[in-house]
Assembly symmetry: C2
Homo-oligomer: 342 residues x 2
């Protein structure tokens, strides 16, 4: 019972008067150990505060029991600009990992780095969870590489056809539709879209398309002249809104591709003397905590981050175990606040 120089399964074996493999079996819950023996072994293990050496068991079993979470940062800044949208998802993921008995390695990466090689290859993790915004086209190639080398992974993002690997994402088209329908119900039809609505940012594109479909169902359509590129940050949203205003085209609503963009855009609109929601109704996407705090409080499309985290982990665990798993879209919902009238 040495305090330092931790106890090993051999120590327990000696104390219990059995062989070391029997201790291993008992601890792992193998059915081929006598119940009496098991109890004796468990008692001794508890008393010695024994914990299985992960390095040894993983080495022997040729697996890690660990998942790796790669969170992509905005490479344009040296400060940490993790999208706050991912914070509750991070919480959900860690909780789900604990429930599955997996450890979670976390790493913040630049999209440009050689991250796809590091983890699985060094036997640190059995599989990868990929989170973060970024140019999808720059990203797709790496996903294919992961797939080719047989590394299990799941990612959060747009669920597209013919996509390498498995994706969990929200129903962006449906969310865009909710926004469009809401605008229509308010009598707004000149809807500006702030966000990069191209195949570089498929989530944003889907949100744009969803809104467009809602308008088309009502005999209208989105006007590309009212679309301005922006990435998901307040600064980018603010700058894009200024550009929109500079175009001098009339609009009575703004659909922002994310809440951060919306918050920045509202600042620019207010500075320009426009009243929200009287002159311009604004809807965001994500429902981050700041959406409630913004002035006016932001109407937005809510995503179920808790469910997202659970699914990401569950699907990855399935993949690691060699089971089948499919991509999945999560439903969204409209949260009405003060940035739209009514």
């Amino acid at each position: 019972m040495t305090i330092r120089g931790k106890a090993t399964s051999l120590d327990i074996a000696h104390l219990a008067g059995v062989s070391q493999p029997t201790v291993s079996r008992a601890l792992r819950g193998s059915p081929m150990v006598n119940e009496e023996t098991r109890k004796r072994i468990l008692a001794i293990a508890e008393q010695l505060n024994y914990k299985v050496d992960k390095n040894a068991s993983n080495l022997r079993a040729q697996q890690t029991g660990t998942l790796a979470l790669l969170l992509f940062e905005d490479p344009t800044s040296d400060e940490s600009h993790i999208n706050p949208f991912f914070l509750p998802m991070l919480g959900s993921i860690t909780r789900a990992c604990a429930q599955h008995g997996k450890d979670l390695l976390i790493s913040f990466q630049q999209l440009s780095n050689d991250w796809h090689a590091d983890y699985a290859d060094s036997h640190k993790a059995d599989g990868l969870i990929l989170l973060g915004y970024g140019d999808y086209l720059a990203y797709e190639g790496k996903l294919s590489t992961l797939l080719a080398q047989g590394t299990p992974f799941v990612r959060w993002g747009a669920v597209l056809a013919d996509q390498p690997g498995l994706s969990i994402g929200c129903d962006n088209v449906g969310g865009g539709r909710l926004a469009g329908t809401h605008f229509l119900s308010l009598g707004r039809r000149r809807i500006a879209f702030i966000g990069d609505a191209s195949s570089h940012y498929p989530e944003f594109l889907e949100r744009f398309d969803g809104c467009d479909r809602a308008l088309r169902d009502a005999g209208s359509a989105m006007d590309r002249a009212l679309q301005v590129d922006a990435e998901s940050s307040e600064e980018s949203g603010e700058a894009a809104a200024r550009e929109l205003l500079a175009r001098g085209l009339p609009f009575d609503a703004v659909f922002a591709a994310s809440d951060l963009i919306a918050i920045g855009a509202m600042r620019a609109l207010a500075e320009h003397g426009l009243r929200i929601p009287e002159d311009v109704a604004v809807v965001g996407f994500d429902d981050i905590p700041a959406a409630r705090i913004a002035t006016p409080a932001l109407t937005t499309i809510h995503q179920d981050t808790t469910r997202a985290g659970e699914l990401l982990v569950a699907k990855l665990v399935a993949l690691v175990e060699g089971a089948a798993a499919d991509s999945e879209r999560l439903p969204t919902s409209l949260v009405v606040r003060r940035s739209t009238p009514g």
Copy 2:
């Protein structure tokens, strides 16, 4: 050059025509390997996309190369309520770990759980980083246990005398002083404090004391009748502000123990018909992103979370390597926004 069944150091040894230990030495940068030989080995390793098996090397070297981050959640809710203050710190910590060549395991814990046993004992991590708010007195005993069992750890929080282990925290007293001095410069002397200013929450208590000292230097003092307990959440801040208002005592300023508390409190004050900052000046603490977004934008005490993360990792690495390391207080700064006049 098999794609599956990853390359081992023995594979490289065969290809390079040397023994396996020589490969190991070359890869680890040992000075006792011929330069030519090393280059040859490195080239082959690169070509095979070889990565050292962490489980094997850690098992053999009896260390993990991994640090564990335990983030304590608010146990009162089932939702994930990680304080947003910790998000940039998380970014900084992961980056610092990468620089030190350490992996980072992350886990969200309840303060009540048996977390102090799990990590180090199972050889998953060489040391622990402890983050999160919570009742310090409920926590101190576990720190002593960690210390007694020789587990290296660092925590973020108040730096107190006679404290078990090593703490990194901001200069809360100095931060409180900045707030107090700012209020005085605005002619405000009836300063309410929202936050649990007791030894259960030493950080909050230090902030209260700092503000009090600034007032005392000016011949005034904080009034305990204007102090209301609150934990770090908007809801708690809002409820506490209502209680303060219900007391019916006059006050012309609120010092909130955290930004979340301040944001909740401002909501309650505004609903009560008080104008911020004309009737009540409000100062928060932390400088979370939401402080800028709040209406009015929140004057607050900024903490250097980037430096905090770097220090936490650097000190823990020192501890793990058996070096000496001391607790440290980081300076704070006042960020003036619209919630205080001028």
